[in-house]
């Protein structure tokens, strides 16, 4: 294990101290009646301090599972069955449940997809804040907690009076702001945003994205942005990780990835976006359907759908390795 670790470290370009979250060989499996689903299969990923990492992929590719796995909140029947996760050099998988609860919300927090249901309908907004603050900061009085919540509301652009509202009295955009505030109120170093704008309309989406950008600068947080929307990722992310069928297929700096995707899956993904500058262009279609994760294809999981598949792709799994500076991919086209 140590040998492997050393090897991994050598391959990283940025320095060791810049890594906030290091994931190695992470495996999350769902035991269902039909068999074992490999939701996240042997994933290696580093998240650097201060960056925004976009995690993209189609539905059910394991990106949300990965986000939850970082907080150890994979819901039943899912389980983290292998791998390591270090957060600031601390082994997350070695923590007890109680210690993990202390990390959640304080060091790492999460923003969920659906703001309409992510607040307790029977609790006022201020109670959400007070409870979160008091859980992590012993010795804080309610009045102090409320003051912190009000300060947060100033940053979120909501009137402080709305703190005494119930969730149903707020709009969807406001609720998502409230959730973002809850994730940030304790100055979490890492925020995992799981499709934070998916259920919002375009205008509100733009506002929330602006808010996230602003808050990121203000709080200096690191963010993992999980999304299937490449536009959002292009706008916010510094680096992008592309997932397919539970595996990482490509990780690259944002500009480089959108400019020149390496993996055929990423190429297909980008090609299937309509381009408003070209008239009458026929939309590129990626054939086939995402694979069954209980019985994944042999070799490269993308080979049945890959337009550039080699004979080798069906037999051997391509290793995940660095192709050029900061660009990683798992594909036999780049040996």
């Amino acid at each position: 294990m140590d040998g492997m670790m050393a090897q991994e470290t050598q391959r990283q370009e940025p320095q060791e101290q810049d890594v906030l979250l290091r994931i190695r060989d992470l495996q999350v499996q769902y035991q269902v009646r039909a068999g074992t689903t490999r939701g996240v299969d042997h994933v290696d990923l580093d998240v650097y301090k201060g960056e925004t990492l976009g995690l993209v992929g189609e539905s059910a590719c394991g990106k949300s599972t990965m986000g939850r796995a970082i907080l150890r909140l994979v819901s039943e029947p899912g389980k983290i069955v292998g791998g390591q996760m270090w957060f600031n050099g601390v082994d997350l998988l070695a923590k007890s449940d109680v210690e993990m609860a202390r990390i959640r919300g304080k060091e790492i927090s999460m923003i969920f997809q659906d703001p309409m249901t992510s607040l307790n309908p029977l609790q006022r907004i201020d109670q959400h804040y007070i409870e979160t603050l008091l859980t992590h900061e012993r010795g804080l009085s309610k009045a102090q907690a409320l003051r912190l919540a009000k300060g947060m509301f100033d940053n979120l652009g909501i009137q402080p009076e709305r703190l005494s509202d119930y969730p149903h009295q707020l709009s969807g955009g406001m609720r998502q702001r409230v959730m973002i505030g809850l994730a940030l109120v304790l100055n979490s170093q890492l925020v995992i945003a799981d499709e934070p704008t998916t259920s919002l309309d375009v205008i509100v989406e733009a506002q929330i994205l602006d808010l996230l950008k602003e808050l990121k600068q203000q709080y200096g947080m690191t963010m993992v942005l999980i999304s299937h929307n490449l536009g959002i990722v292009a706008e916010l992310a510094d680096r992008v990780a592309v997932m397919y069928a539970g595996k990482l297929v490509e990780v690259a700096p944002s500009l480089a990835l959108f400019d020149q995707p390496l993996h055929p899956y990423t190429q297909g993904l980008l090609a299937s976006l309509p381009n408003i500058r070209v008239e009458d262009e026929e939309l590129h279609v990626m054939f086939g359907a995402p694979p069954d994760l209980i019985h994944p294809p042999t070799g490269c999981r993308f080979h049945p759908r890959c337009p550039r598949a080699l004979p080798r792709c069906a037999q051997e799994e391509p290793p995940y390795r660095q192709v050029e500076g900061g660009r990683w991919t798992a594909c036999w086209l780049y040996p």
Partner: protein
């Protein structure tokens, strides 16, 4: 609860709360609303009746206050009879030798006034005694045909003095001469007490168990579910009979016997509700913010389960009333002299073929009314509190 904070620059005002929500968002019209209102009115009436039982009931429910099987509404009055004109009315009876006929209402009326008297086993002897001067007056039922006949046969001129006096039994008397109305009024107290206490008790046990079982799952959940499902699979009354037989009579024991059979109702309801609520995103969000398991359960899951408990509670009380009545009907309820609707029902049923219908009709109707009240309240509340109906 967070306190409303008033600071110099901004005032956080409390805008809306659960009560306000209820007032503005609940349905205040339609059939459900009337059903709930009617059920509530029925219950308020019955509860008031139990609270003022001593004022409302004209007689002691366990004393023999009248002749057996007096018809509802019948006045059972007595008259004073004498021959020598020495007695001019009820007020002159004190200190005199007074006679009554065994089994007549006179004895009870004199008892009630603290007067002493002598019993005579038959009208003939009583009239003889009156004639011989052994007694100064005879107190007898106003409509006793045998007495008049005896007087005629013995050639005695019997005078009626004073106004007839006595008791009216609004709902008649039972086979022992106890006032049915008084027994019903006092019986409401017993039946309501037992039913509500039993429902509270089973909620107090079933709800926490359901919360724990649903929330934590695992072995605890499996074991508890098995126990509760086996309890649930018993027919309720049979189980209550077994429990009551095991525990013996007495108010608390009957309450426990009834409570036991309703624990699974709460358990199953709460558990299934918790299973769905704990999958809600806000519970997961709370966990992602570091909330402890107990906090999550208490602040996020439990409050969202309460509405369904309230509804089931009301329906449950209705059910326990029936079970209580069933138990005492079978003789496993309160010990006999205690006024109890179910027991009166079972004691009175023997006399129905003889035409004494009022012995069981009134207790039966009260059981039905009280059950109906709780059912209507529960169903009405269910419809009104149902968010699917209020949001539309």
């Amino acid at each position: 609860m967070a306190e409303t904070t008033v600071t110099s620059n901004n005032i956080v005002q409390r805008r809306g709360g659960p009560v306000r929500w209820f007032l503005t968002n609940a349905k205040w019209h339609g059939a459900e609303w009337w059903i709930m209102l009617l059920g509530g009115a029925l219950l308020v009436a019955i509860i008031l009746m139990t609270l003022f039982a001593n004022q409302i009931a004209p007689y002691d429910p366990i004393k023999f206050v009248g002749a057996p099987f007096t018809r509802p509404g019948a006045e059972q009055s007595v008259i004073v009879l004498e021959v020598t004109s020495s007695v001019q009315g009820l007020s002159d009876l004190a200190g005199r030798a007074v006679g009554v006929i065994t089994g007549s209402q006179g004895a009870r009326e004199l008892d009630a006034r603290g007067l002493s008297y002598e019993r005579y086993s038959s009208p003939r002897r009583a009239v003889e005694a009156l004639y011989k001067g052994e007694i100064a007056a005879l107190v007898a039922d106003a409509d006793d045909p045998k007495l008049k006949q005896q007087a005629r046969q013995q050639g005695v001129e019997v005078k009626t003095v004073g106004e007839p006096f006595g008791a009216t039994f609004r709902l008649g008397t039972d086979n022992y001469g106890r006032d049915v109305f008084s027994r019903i009024v006092h019986g409401a107290r017993i039946v309501l007490g037992i039913a509500i206490l039993a429902a509270l008790l089973s909620a107090a046990v079933g709800v926490p168990l359901g919360l724990l079982s649903g929330f934590f799952g695992g072995f605890l959940d499996k074991a508890l579910s098995l126990v509760m499902d086996s309890l649930y699979s018993f027919p309720g009354l049979i189980l209550a009979i077994a429990m009551a037989a095991l525990l013996g009579p007495g108010m608390l024991n009957v309450t426990v016997a009834i409570a036991v059979i309703y624990i699974p109702v709460y358990f199953r309801l709460v558990r299934s509700k918790v299973l769905s609520v704990k999958e809600e995103l806000y519970v997961e969000a709370a966990r992602s913010l570091g909330a402890k398991a107990f906090t999550t359960l208490w602040l996020y899951v439990f409050p969202n389960v309460i509405p369904s408990i309230v509804v089931i509670f009301s329906v449950n009380v209705a059910d326990s009333i029936l079970t209580e009545a069933g138990l005492s009907f079978l003789g496993l309820g309160m010990p006999p002299p205690t006024p109890d609707w179910g027991f009166d029902l079972s004691a009175g049923k023997r006399f129905v073929p003889s035409g004494y219908w009022w012995l069981i009709t009134y207790p039966g109707a009260m059981i039905a009314l009280l059950t109906l009240g709780f059912s209507m309240l529960g169903e009405g509340l269910n419809e009104i509190l149902n968010p699917r109906l209020t949001e539309g």
